[in-house]
């Protein structure tokens, strides 16, 4: 009797603790650090070597970029499944733009524009034409990858090595990611845009009655995410110099994984924060790398990723009393 009382008290205080904002933001970071420690011990320190760390950073870059953009959509309590498809299609078309003009500037402009245009279409479908966001993103996911395949056929877009080397030498990837990330953090945490988005995620009716137009801010969120997709497309080009029909096919899932592992609130709203994507992307890469180094086969790694994902979702989020609402 006493024991159960104690248990319930403990679980209540645990609940209160997990509902605390600081906790939800710190947990993923702590989790990441623990992972790094565990792997470092398991591999006899090889995991924390400079080369290994560099590799992790390089690998996390693309996922981190897309998921940072996706934060804006997640914050409004929506999920976009078409982020990956948008990124790859953008990469294909901007690669083609470069091959046609031989101009890096054109490529960058095309990538940024295209990413945001595709996302704008998605946003307009859901706001002006009132199709549910869930359906919009599912159908966009299929449509965009079909378009991409239709453009590519079986071939790949290859870009000249000299251009890639040049961009790599000037640290294009880090600069692009860095500026986008800083921009996003500022936009998300220090401006009225981020505040409005989070408020829409908390209660969109209330937001509307407080004069925050859902349509307008959804558009902003999607466009920001679109810019993220554009930048990620450029990073993908710089990384492999070629885009094929199956390039980055699991990007979207990786992003959702990263966001949740990074501690993003799955219901969006006020507990959202912009660096969840980065923390999560690094966590995913650390997991992949670490498990591979420990000697786990690559197929098992996916399963472990899934299980950790579920555990983290359950511990970090408040469980609703009923089943999640249809829109979720």
């Amino acid at each position: 009797m006493k024991c159960s009382e104690w248990c319930s008290k403990a679980s209540a205080s645990f609940r209160r603790f997990t509902e605390d904002r600081l906790f939800s933001r710190l947990l993923p970071v702590v989790f990441l650090l623990v992972l790094v420690c565990v792997f470092s011990i398991a591999t006899g320190g090889r995991f924390t070597s400079a080369q290994s760390m560099k590799v992790i950073v390089q690998q996390a870059l693309i996922v981190a970029t897309v998921s940072t953009g996706a934060c804006f959509i997640f914050a409004t309590n929506n999920v976009n499944l078409a982020m990956g498809a948008t990124t790859v299609l953008t990469a294909v078309l901007s690669g083609m733009a470069y091959n046609a003009t031989n101009s890096v500037v054109v490529m960058v402009v095309v990538a940024l524009l295209l990413g945001s245009v595709i996302m704008t279409v998605s946003a307009l479908l859901s706001t002006l034409l009132r199709v549910r966001v869930m359906f919009v993103t599912i159908v966009m996911m299929s449509l965009l990858s079909a378009v991409q395949e239709s453009i590519l056929g079986g071939s790949t877009i290859s870009l000249p090595y000299e251009m890639i080397t040049m961009l790599t030498d000037m640290n294009f990837s880090y600069i692009a990611f860095g500026s986008f990330f800083i921009g996003c953090v500022i936009l998300f945490h220090f401006t009225d845009v981020g505040r409005s988005l989070r408020f829409i995620g908390t209660n969109s009716t209330c937001a509307e009655q407080t004069g925050i137009s859902r349509n307008k801010y959804m558009l902003i969120a999607f466009i920001t995410a679109g810019v993220g997709c554009g930048i990620a497309a450029l990073l993908a080009i710089v990384r492999a110099a070629s885009i094929g029909s199956k390039t980055l096919s699991s990007l979207n899932m990786d992003c959702m994984l990263a966001l949740v592992l990074g501690g993003m609130s799955i219901f969006g709203g006020s507990k959202s924060f912009a660096f969840a994507g980065v923390v999560g992307a690094v966590t995913v890469c650390v997991l992949n790398q670490g498990l591979l180094m420990v000697g786990v086969s690559s197929s098992i790694i996916q399963g472990i990723r899934g299980i950790l994902f579920l555990i983290l979702v359950c511990t970090a989020q408040t469980r609703p009393k009923g089943l999640p609402a249809p829109e979720g």
């Binding site: 869930m134 359906f135 399963g303 359950c314």
Partner: protein
């Protein structure tokens, strides 16, 4: 008057495949100089594809009509089909057992997914990602990456038989329409669609209901899965949630089926919708459109359909508003007279 309405509904229902047939037939004839359905084999192919997509559409409808989109359904299809098939193969059983074991495995995977859902109550799309990753891993590990290979396995021919496919489709359709219309489960389903809260207050166990939905969905996708695998002689064990493509591509059939089914019933609607869409893509194949272009056309039509579906009451609402405005003007006139 009643009979008239029924006839109208029937006309509405069958107008879809008929119109599509005529359209594709004309296109085929004038562009390629051939008929859409030229032989028994064409019929067979159409029936099989319709059957598979209708069954998947039924599976989708269990969760989607309650507003849940399960991203792990494709992974469940993979896991259930491969493991069920492996068990049957291991036991040296014949065709029907493959179907049964796949169905049972599908039920199990669906059940576990449903349990995890009601225990964690994470939004279905997010949950689907996590659990889908795990489910894909299971058949991959168990089959050592080989997937299910039915090439030359005796007794699986029956699964690819046309009559058998039709029979399975009818059994599934009857099962689904019975369960949706005649059982307590079906009544609860409609109630939950209307309002989760009122349903719960009326004593409906929405959690048990959700688990059942997941379970039936899992079982059905695996039935479709094994028929598909038997025809293609294999199902490879893919990773990275690529397994979901098959399921997502049948969402159109499910949504269109729901729309057509409003005038008859959902089971008929889904079958008719699957037939319509398969006639469409079969026609596109005959016109030698590449697979990517077919997909582009298909998805574009789907987007347009979704837009239509979201705004179908717009004009009715406009009409009501206009009537109200007229009423207001009348009122103004009266007041100004007074």
């Amino acid at each position: 008057m009643f009979r008239n309405r029924k006839a109208k509904d029937a006309l509405f229902t069958f107008a879809f495949p008929l119109a599509m047939f005529v359209l594709m037939e004309l296109l085929c004839f004038f562009l390629k100089g051939r008929h859409l359905v030229g032989s028994l084999l064409d019929v067979k192919t159409l029936v099989r594809n319709t059957g598979i997509s209708a069954i998947i559409a039924f599976a989708l409808s269990f969760n989607l009509s309650c507003g849940r989109f399960d991203l792990s359904l494709g992974a469940q299809r993979l896991a259930g089909t491969i493991i069920g098939g492996m068990i049957a193969m291991e036991l040296g059983l014949s065709g029907l057992w493959f179907l049964l074991f796949s169905f049972l495995c599908g039920l199990v995977f669906g059940f576990i997914t449903g349990m995890v859902f009601v225990i964690t109550r994470v939004p279905p799309m997010v949950l689907g990602v996590g659990i889908g990753l795990v489910w894909e891993c299971v058949p991959y590990t168990m089959s050592k990456g080989k997937g299910l290979n039915l090439f030359g396995v005796h007794g699986t021919e029956i699964l690819t038989d046309t009559v058998f496919t039709i029979a399975v489709m009818i059994v599934v359709a009857v099962f689904v329409s019975l369960i949706m219309n005649r059982t307590k489960f079906g009544y609860e389903m409609k109630a939950i669609q209307g309002s989760q809260l009122i349903a719960r207050n009326s004593g409906i166990n929405i959690f048990r209901h959700a688990v059942l939905c997941y379970m039936f969905a899992g079982g059905l996708v695996c039935v479709a899965g094994i028929i598909d695998a038997a025809f293609q002689t294999q199902m490879s064990s893919t990773m990275g949630l690529a397994s979901n493509g098959v399921v997502v591509s049948n969402m159109f059939a499910m949504m269109l089926g729901g729309y057509i089914g409003e005038r008859s019933n959902q089971a008929t609607g889904v079958i008719v919708a699957s037939l319509t869409l398969n006639l469409f893509s079969y026609g596109l194949t005959l016109m030698e459109l590449s697979e990517a272009n077919t997909s582009v056309v298909n998805q574009t039509v789907f987007v347009l359909f979704l837009v239509f579906l979201a705004n179908r009451y717009y004009f009715r609402k406009r009409k009501a508003e206009k009537a109200r405005i007229a009423q207001a003007l009348e009122q103004r006139r009266i007041m100004s007279v007074a």
